[in-house]
Amino acid sequence: HFGFQTVTEAERREKIYQVFESVAKKYDVMNDSMTLGIHRIWKDIFVRKMNPCPGTLLLDVAGGTGDIAFRFLNYVRSVREGQLRRKLRQQQNLSWQEISESYQEDNLKSLGDSQVVVCDINREMLKVGKEKARHLGYSEGLSWVLGNAEELPFDDEKFDVYTIAFGIRNVTRIDLALQEAYRVLKPGGRFLCLEFSHVSNPVLSRLYDLYSFQVIPVLGEVIAGDWRSYQYLVESIRCFPPQEELKAMIEDAGFFKVDYQNLNSGIVAIHSGFKL
């Protein structure tokens, strides 16, 4: 399905590619308008749940414009600063020579060897992301790779954490993407997925539907000059498996301790699983 249309898998991939090619430049503006800025909070909560420690190697799939990657870098940087501060406090009895030596070796690792690889299938989205990184001053610990979530260009067991934020909905074969996620994670690695999900509360659900179908395509037309891509967006959310079903799919891929957390009554859900 492409939204509510029935198409072949190849057609669906092509159509989705075109959608993101067309929306790439206005992606962030549209996210802010559609969610009234709340998507930033969802992403903050997501990274906080990840709670990465310095030295983590993160693969952010469908990471396009870099929102998760930048938050990850900020998070490990501040955790690292905290670590360094604590270390300094313990070094009060050292000589000046020893203190300056430890400064030198630590300052080279403000990120503590943490790295994030942003992987996206769409060149336009990656372009926007790279430009944003340049503009915001992110350079260390960040790399950009063109790749397909269903067939990742990475070796087995390479990453500590795999994230996919608002991307898995657009993958044509979700089962393959989950299998790939399992493959590239190290044992002990964590799978995290942030995605629009299903609202069970009937009142909220009606309001959400009304807003989604009546307002969002209009916003798409007015802000981005693109009704159809945003019509696709709201339809694809409705077609996506609900929380329990996605949980089962993640378990099928081999993950353990799979759980989900609803945000805003299920408008968005974070699914988590471990490779053991």
């Binding site: 159509k15 075109q18 307002v215």
Partner: protein, 254 residues
């Protein structure tokens, strides 16, 4: 967006529990048509009006505003066309003004002062093309969609007949003329708000000379959509102006 495969919504009916509004959205009346509910039209009208004011280069927003607010005016225009022999023929034959349908070489070869020659001169001088007219999306009637398309494609000919360039001032003058001629709310809004970005000197010329002239022309002229321009390329502009009832432009210096 042009070139995108049209999405039919027949699959929508398979989904139950959807609000009734989406059921009526299942039918695409013409290529590029996006069926919309009344609420969506209202939101589009408001949003496009704001965006068009905020960013005047968003011509697509002006187009959307025209489509979402023009229901009554388009119907009245269509009726005017139906009750006029030439207009009726246009509705039947549905001519389109596009580079692919125009024989540019032939028009350039026409004598100076003829409609065809002056039209081509206008296009070259202002570096515009008839192919930049946006096809309608939100008009829920296939014939009215053609009427608004025709109105858009004839716009450049209005510039030619009125002798107005495509700068902000010229556009505003043509909007005043079109507002009186068509009654389209988008033209009225454009005529009223367009001048906000003009300098004081231009505003003065506009208010004292150009707008009164445009309004007078708008009132006196017969319906501009009832002229089969494609069959009148050889006609001298002067003669066509007299026939329609448009006075030549006043001599202004800005």
């Amino acid at each position: 967006p042009a070139g995108r495969a049209s999405l039919s919504r027949t699959e929508l009916r398979a989904r139950d529990g959807r609000s009734g509004e989406e059921e009526e959205m299942s039918f695409q009346l013409y290529p590029g048509h996006i069926p919309t509910s009344p609420l969506q039209k209202a939101l589009l009208a408001a949003g496009s009006a704001v965006m068009a004011l905020y960013d005047p280069y968003r011509h697509d927003m002006v187009a959307v505003l025209g489509e979402t607010t023009g229901c009554l005016a388009l119907r009245s225009l269509r009726d005017k066309m139906k009750h006029h022999p030439e207009g009726y023929r246009i509705l039947q034959e549905r001519p389109r003004i596009r580079l692919s349908t125009l024989d540019m070489a032939r028009l350039q070869g026409l004598p100076d002062g003829s409609l065809g020659r002056e039209y081509v001169r206008f296009l070259e001088h202002n570096k515009v093309s008839p192919d930049t007219r946006i096809p309608p999306k939100f008009v829920d009637d296939e014939e009215l969609a053609y009427v608004i398309q025709r109105y858009r494609e004839v716009h450049d000919l209005m510039h030619t007949l009125l002798g107005m360039p495509t700068n902000m001032l010229g556009e505003v003058v043509v909007k005043w003329f079109e507002a009186v001629q068509t009654g389209l709310p988008m033209c009225v809004l454009g005529a009223a708000f367009g001048p906000v970005r003009l300098s004081a000197r231009k505003l003065q010329v506009l208010a004292t000379q150009l707008v009164p002239w445009a309004i007078q022309n708008g009132r006196n002229a017969s319906c501009i959509l009832n002229v089969y321009y494609e069959q009148r390329w050889e006609q001298p502009v002067k003669s066509l102006r007299e026939e329609i009832g448009i006075l030549p432009p006043p001599d202004v210096r800005v």
